[in-house]
């Protein structure tokens, strides 16, 4: 077998570097969105409002019971079509569309937000009830107690699990190739089909993912150790 990694790297490298930018951008924004959504969903699921709890329970079941890839397709193809349909019905002309990257960010926020909300919820429940009582006894309202004394330690206890989700998310960006986001897999696939440097291209791709994810998991382990030390 004749392998030419040098050529593959020369030609594919710059394109992959651009792709890394796309991947990091979507990962970062999507993950921040997921964290915010996770806290909001967790608070909603712990609220006294039965209707809200019920709705969120159903949403979480739907999100966890369908594949992430299907969700991306749904956001990318179905949501704009639905918006257009509704607009047509009401007699408006709709120019609504979502870029593939935006769909990716929305999809990650919702999907990972739902999974991570369960982490946040159990962390909130794990905070010593004495913290709440101490806050209340000082004169803080329930809401402020949550904000100042429950959520911070709960988030801190969630960090190790969040780290795992972050590593999973960066790898899951490869799914976005299917909705035409110019991320790493799509660039590699295009390159391989044009040059037939298949082995070289996909090997390089795998290595790039490793280079992205290993430092991230190391970082989350470091943060975890730092936090445990207090």
């Amino acid at each position: 077998m004749d392998l030419n990694f040098e050529k593959a790297l020369d030609l594919l490298g710059p394109s992959l570097l651009d792709g890394i930018g796309v991947v990091l951008y979507i990962t970062l924004v999507g993950f921040v969105g997921a964290m915010i959504l996770a806290v909001l969903i967790a608070l909603g699921r712990l609220s006294k409002n039965k209707v809200l709890r019920g709705i969120l329970g159903v949403v979480i079941e739907i999100v966890r019971g369908t594949p992430l890839l299907v969700q991306f397709f749904y956001i990318y193809f179905v949501v704009p079509a639905l918006v257009k349909g509704v607009a047509d019905m009401m007699g408006y002309i709709s120019y609504f569309s979502l870029s593939a990257e935006t769909c990716g960010i929305i999809g990650f926020s919702i999907n990972y937000g739902c999974y991570m909300s369960e982490v946040v919820r159990s962390s909130i429940l794990a905070v010593d009830p004495g913290q709440r009582e101490a806050g209340l006894a000082l004169g803080f309202s329930e809401r402020k107690v949550m904000l100042h004394f429950i959520i911070p330690p709960a988030m801190r206890n969630s960090v190790p699990v969040f780290g795992n989700y972050l590593v999973m998310l960066i790898k899951d960006t490869s799914l976005l190739a299917m909705i035409s986001v110019q991320e790493l897999l799509l660039r590699t696939k295009t390159f391989a089909s044009q040059t037939f440097l298949t082995v070289e291209a996909y090997t390089i791709l795998a290595l790039v993912y490793l280079v992205l994810s290993i430092p991230l998991s190391q970082l989350s382990r470091l943060v975890e150790r730092k936090l445990n030390k207090g």
Binding site: Q131, A134, L136, A137, L138, G139, F140, S141, P153
Partner: protein, 242 residues
């Protein structure tokens, strides 16, 4: 007028009657110690006073105002009634001085430097100014409890509630906490203390209340109750703990 008037207070958890027909007046500057066997309702009574537990019946008046009807305004009342817990309940992510200054900054809008100055003074008072920048987890139980007292004092409460403040401490650490409490009593702080420390009750209390089975069985000056208990149950309890 008493600072706190408890009238016909009752509390039940489902079928379990925890407090029944409690009537107590607390005068300003008074140190009231509540003693009694476990499960007698002492802690529940204390928790009802600052509404961590919602009373099932009866009223509690604070400076003449019925606090069981406060609704959302309960936060304003709780600022005036500090509480010290058995398990300290310090905020673990904050340093010692932050624990003390946090509530005044957030709730009274005290400027940060002022709150810090005040917090340092309070820490000095409880003998822990050297520990200001450490985390609570690095302190002994007795030190944590003294920080908790400083934290409660930072809101300038009218009344301080102590819920078995020394029960979670190693015996040799109890003395420092009791010393701080004695000093507070001397300064005229109104205190309601649930404790098993009979020595503290004898030395510091103006009045001792003995509870059993959810009732106030007997209340009297400490010398009376300890040397000459009127009630059979009080006598039986004291003979076991003294």
């Amino acid at each position: 007028m008493p600072v706190i008037e408890i009238k016909n207070l009752s509390k039940h958890f489902n079928d379990l009657e925890v407090l029944q027909n409690i009537n107590i007046d607390i005068e300003k500057g008074e140190v009231v110690v509540i003693i009694g066997p476990s499960g007698s309702g002492k802690s529940t009574l204390l928790r009802c006073i600052n509404l961590l537990e919602k009373p099932s019946g009866g009223e509690i008046y604070f400076e003449g105002e019925n606090i069981t009807k406060l609704g959302k305004k309960v936060t304003g009342y709780r600022k005036k009634v500090g509480m010290v817990f058995q398990r300290f309940n310090l905020f673990p992510l904050k340093t010692v001085v932050e624990n003390v200054m946090f509530a005044p900054i957030k709730l009274n809008k005290t400027p940060k430097h002022e709150a810090k100055e005040q917090a340092m003074e309070l820490l000095k008072k409880v003998g822990l100014e050297a520990k200001a920048d450490t985390r609570p987890s690095a302190l002994s139980g007795g030190q944590q409890q003294r920080v908790a007292i400083a934290r409660a004092l930072a809101m300038n409460p009218e009344v301080l509630l102590f819920d078995e403040p020394t029960s979670a401490l190693d015996p040799e650490l109890v003395g420092d906490v009791l010393e701080v409490m004695k000093n507070l009593a001397k300064e005229g702080m109104t205190m309601i203390v649930v404790t098993h420390e009979m020595g503290f009750a004898k030395d510091v209390a103006d009045r001792v209340i003995f509870m059993d089975g959810g009732y106030v069985v007997e209340e009297n000056a400490p010398q009376e109750i300890f040397t000459n208990p009127k009630n059979e149950r009080t006598r039986a309890f004291l003979s076991r703990v003294l």
